[in-house]
Amino acid sequence: MKFLLALVILTGIAVLGSKISFLRKEFSLGVKNIFFTGIEYILIGLILGESGIKILDIETLPKFYPFLVFGLAWIGYLFGVQFEFQQVKKLPRMFFSITAIQAFVTFLSVSIIMFIVFRNFFFMKFQISLILSIFLGTIALSTAQSAIAIVNKNYKFKNQKLFDLLRYVSGVDGVFAIMVFAVLLAFMKNGNSLSLNPALTLLWLSISVLIGFIPAVIFRIMNRVRPGIQEFPVFLVGVIIFTGGLAIQLNHSPLVCGFFGGIIIANSCRYRTRVLLFLHEAEKAIYIIMLLILGAGWNPDKGINFILVLFYIVFRLLGKFFGNFIAARSFRSTFKIPSTIGIALLSEGGLSFGILINFIILFPELSDKIIYIVILSSFINELLSPRLILTQFKEKEFIGNIGGKKL
């Protein structure tokens, strides 16, 4: 009965949530961004979960894991299918270099500091500290597009190219996050420790690619003859479920394998746009359910250390700042790039939650130590992001929605 109740509640919230938009409400942009990222669903999940009213308790929660696997593969495909190489090539190479540098510096900054903190202040084991710090570095390097999208809806900028750069960086650095996550998992294949065997790691990565490759090829073959309106979703959903299932059965990441599958579809299937539209259509509802489950699985009673959260936020900010500072100084640009542009890339939600959920599924025993860092830091980053983006643009015009408020 509890499962039924939980199912009804999750479905109801997901359907309502996917229809409700706070973008036209009278909130500051920061609050709107929090709603846009969906952090409130983590809190609702927390209330529904073991720490709250226990509808999604420890016994009920695992029954939803197959859905999480499916959802992660869905997000992976959604991300991957946007990488059509022909299109990516058309974008300025400088944009890619800036993205790579800022991602690398942020990753290093967060990973190194968090490792030092875990080892020296929390006396965690070497291997655990290493895994958790690399994982946090991975999460830190990705930027969500939500804050940029919200600012874009409310302001018009003279330096549009700078805005395009922000959009590009926030769109592409997720790829680096997925790749680093894949490498981390490849090293972690033995469970709670890292094993530095390049051959085995390469093998693991190849298997991940293969798990994405086979279903994507299946999808391509099934679509050789134009599929009907009824059949197309069956093929796509079938392939996504199969990818997720293969990945989880072989102890791989549904997100990573889905991502590889998406890339293959993007570059080999003529129905790429149809796939993208279909994936977008249900994305929000799937994402909401995943956040609700994430919230329900979070147990704050196991301890929250605000110092760790603070360290993470500060060093992510510094990483983003210096990464972009170095990148901006390294290339000549036809438009003005402020040296502080990095602070406009703080928005964190979206993909980072996906990576977090994937980590929880694969390594539940390790996740208690970092889950709150990601959730709380996201909350703060989402709140600050729009304001920080606006500081980068001197000439701007408010075109906000009726009822919208300036900051």
Binding site: M1, V69, G245, A282
Partner: protein
């Protein structure tokens, strides 16, 4: 078709590797439900498609796929996997019930009312008495009935008779959807199948009560019990009406999410019905079982006939029908117990033949009496062969009431039901094609 074969090979190969790794102890031996569902969708769809190229209905392909990969042959779907996926079956069944109810239009029913009533009554009488008589006459050859007195023989034979009356509206609706059939024949067959789904519950309750008296030699026919049953059916219709009204409201508010909501609603109805049943049992020590599928059918019927949103409802349901049918019929196929089929095959075939003969005779005479047109007269029997979930559900009740004999009855009837399940859809598709009511035939007619 080559494409589908390649896909099938790739999917099976992938699963083969996973099972090999699991057997070697490299990965977890317990298969992930996500993987099983993904495999089910891809493999069954393609097998159904290949079957279609040979003139078979897709659902036969899905059933075959379930049987092939099920617990008795290739064992990709193990018994516990099939059990753990049974909730998907409930979801699908509720969806099919909504659909079946919505396919019944009062104006179409009114047009064919004479034929529908005549076929329902006629086929029921013929099948029940024919199969009962067959088993009664063969009683000395059936090991567990050998040497029993006339009352017991009559009781057991009636159980065979009443279960043979049950049909499968789910298969009928799936084939109608697949072939996009329309016309008098389609409406008549579907209407009879749905009405029989309601009547069989009452008929079974009456017959099983009589059988208890005959077989166990104690008790008496409890009229209150029958009245209670009629009350339960009435309640199902009332709840279904309100649910239908609610769905009509949702249809105006929801778009893409409607498919998710309708499946969730179906699941909710099923669980709600089981919950209230258990609750009444615990608190009042009386059993109230409001049949969930009747609620769903009544809801679909309400949307179609009392809301003005019937066609939109069917259109939206149609969009997600393929995965629902794949899941339902694959699990149905995987649930076929081949061990029982082997054990009861001989008498199973006898009952299968006798049932088909009675369906043919009953529908022919009923059609004659009602003055049906020739195409219904000659082909209606083809639509009444399929048996599935309802019959198996009734068998479970037989087993509960007669634990000693029940297992033998179950063995034989499962063999017969399996044959009906495999042959029935093929027969119905043939019937729809013969009367030229499938989309393909209608197009040919126009050309």
């Amino acid at each position: 078709m080559t494409n589908k074969l390649i896909v099938l090979v790739l999917v099976i190969l992938s699963m083969g590797i996973v099972f090999f790794l699991a057997d070697s102890g490299v990965i977890n031996n317990k298969m992930s439900p996500t993987l099983i569902i993904g495999f089910m969708i891809l493999s069954s769809y393609n097998i159904g498609f290949i079957g279609e190229k040979f003139g078979l209905p897709r659902i036969t392909g899905y059933i075959f796929s379930g049987l092939l990969f099920g617990p008795y042959l290739i064992t990709i779907y193990k018994i516990d996997t099939v059990e753990s996926l049974s909730f998907l079956n409930s979801l699908a069944l509720a969806f099919i019930a909504f659909n079946a109810g919505a396919e019944l239009r009062i104006k179409d029913l009114a047009k064919e009312i004479k034929t529908i009533v005549s076929l329902t009554v006629g086929v029921t009488i013929f099948v029940f008495s024919g199969v009962t008589l067959t088993v009664f006459l063969l009683a000395d050859l059936i090991p567990f009935m050998k040497g029993s007195n006339i009352a017991v023989r009559l009781g057991v034979s009636s159980i065979f008779g009443v279960i043979s009356v049950a049909r499968s509206p789910s298969s009928a609706i799936a084939i109608i959807n697949e072939t996009r059939s329309k016309g008098n024949y389609t409406n008549t067959i579907l209407s009879v199948a749905v009405i029989m789904d309601v009547l069989i519950i009452i008929l079974f309750a009456v017959i099983i009560s009589v059988c208890e008296v005959l077989i166990k030699g104690k008790g008496a026919l409890d009229i209150n019990f029958i009245l209670f049953l009629i009350f339960e059916i009435f309640m199902a219709f009332v709840l279904g009406y309100f649910l239908g009204r609610f769905i009509s409201f949702l249809l105006t508010k929801l778009k893409v999410e409607f498919s998710v909501i309708i499946i969730a609603l179906g699941f909710f109805v099923i669980k709600f019905s089981h919950f209230t049943g258990d609750h009444f049992n615990e608190i009042f020590e009386s059993s109230i079982n409001i049949e969930p599928l009747l609620i769903c059918m009544a809801a679909g019927f309400t949307v179609q006939n009392f809301s003005g949103h019937g066609e939109i409802f069917l259109k939206r349901m149609d969009k997600i029908s393929i995965p629902v049918y794949i899941t339902f019929f694959t699990i149905t196929g995987a649930s076929i117990n081949i061990d029982m089929l082997k054990a009861g095959w001989f008498f199973g075939i006898v009952i299968f033949i006798s049932r088909i003969a009675m369906i043919y005779t009953g529908s022919y005479f009923s059609g004659k009496i009602a003055g049906s047109d020739k195409k219904i007269l000659n082909n209606s029997w083809l639509g009444f062969i399929t048996q599935a979930g309802v019959s198996l559900g009734l068998l479970t009740e037989v087993l509960r009431r007669f634990p000693e004999m029940g297992i033998y009855i179950q063995t034989i009837l499962i063999a017969s039901i399996t044959l009906n399940q495999i042959i029935g859809p093929v027969g119905f598709k043939y019937g729809l094609t013969a009367v030229r009511e499938t989309l393909e035939m209608r197009k040919n007619k126009l050309d």
